[in-house]
Subunit: 190 residues, 2 copies
């Protein structure tokens, strides 16, 4: 707690960084605008962090980990087929231009160009997929691992598309997504 008080500035900088990344884009966040928006002296940025890039990496990773952890701990304990609707409803509650959505995608793209960040992001996604797999693995859903893979990617794709077209609602996609969890048809096709 002594650290929590003394590191208030550090925390504010990370928080503001997440907002600015979503607002202006990863490479468009500058030390001065960041410090100004956080209500902090510009020189403090390089006192609390070795570089601006390190600050952005930490801000993104902690922010993403936070969202993922919250999603995982609140996974519905029901049958995944019903739980999916519950997840989609929660996703629909977020505004289409929610900063977290854009932050995710910005971090993914930045990870394409930064090895260290890439490691962190892939670790987080791996953890997300592992938990999703055990959640799906109730014996009724085929190929839980790859289903989790597709489900995670689809969620990111849908959130990204929704930030462009706010009309996209959970009601529309829910029936289609539920097909992902259906067993393959008993009869062979055609």
């Amino acid at each position: 707690m002594s650290t929590s008080k003394s590191h208030q500035v550090r925390h504010d900088l990370l928080e503001t960084a997440r907002t600015l990344i979503a607002e202006r884009g990863w490479t468009a966040v500058s030390t001065r605008t960041l410090a100004h928006r956080a209500g902090v002296n510009p020189g403090l940025v390089h006192y609390h962090f070795p570089s601006l890039r390190a600050l952005l990496n930490e801000a993104a990773l902690t922010g993403i980990a936070q969202v993922i952890d919250q999603t995982l701990t609140h996974l519905p304990r029901t049958d995944p087929r019903q739980g999916l609707d519950q997840l989609l409803g929660k996703l629909d509650a977020y505004p289409p231009d929610d900063p977290a959505t854009v932050l995710f995608t910005e971090a993914y793209l930045a990870a394409t160009r930064d090895t260290e960040l890439r490691r962190g992001i892939t670790d987080l996604l791996q953890r997300l997929r592992t938990h999703l797999t055990t959640w799906l693995d109730d014996g009724h859903i085929a190929d839980p691992a790859n289903t989790a893979h597709v489900l995670a990617a689809t969620a990111d794709g849908l959130m990204l598309h929704r930030s462009l077209d706010p009309h996209l609602s959970a009601d529309q996609v829910a029936p289609v997504l539920r097909r992902l969890l259906n067993p393959p048809p008993a009869k062979e096709q055609r």
Copy 2:
């Protein structure tokens, strides 16, 4: 053809811009590096284009339209359920760090912050979804419109995730994705 010769520089700038957007990120493309990589005098950028932002917008929109058109004209004329595998195979042929993949996502994010670009992107996506819907609408697939919606978003999400984790192959996701096109199970569940 007189225009094609005289506008060679313009074309090179747009082409180089697409590469640099994918390589460094939308907001990290500068007039000078762009001109240098295109083998062109820096002053020419603002002669052929009113602003750098306008150049990037045009580069992204034409590039995306090109990929979408090519995908749509080469849509398999078979049953969508088999055609999906064909599509996935083509997607797998691209290298995981294919510039076009990153360009798509970069443009989506930039469209979040630029009204004019947003209009262009949403128009292109609308056209893509329309064609996908008629392709899916063979009478055997439920809710073709929303299925196309999900399919387009899933494709973007998968490509984005694959640029982070190159191990993601089409073989893994194909069986799962095919479930998206399956009819709902005849029996009521549970």
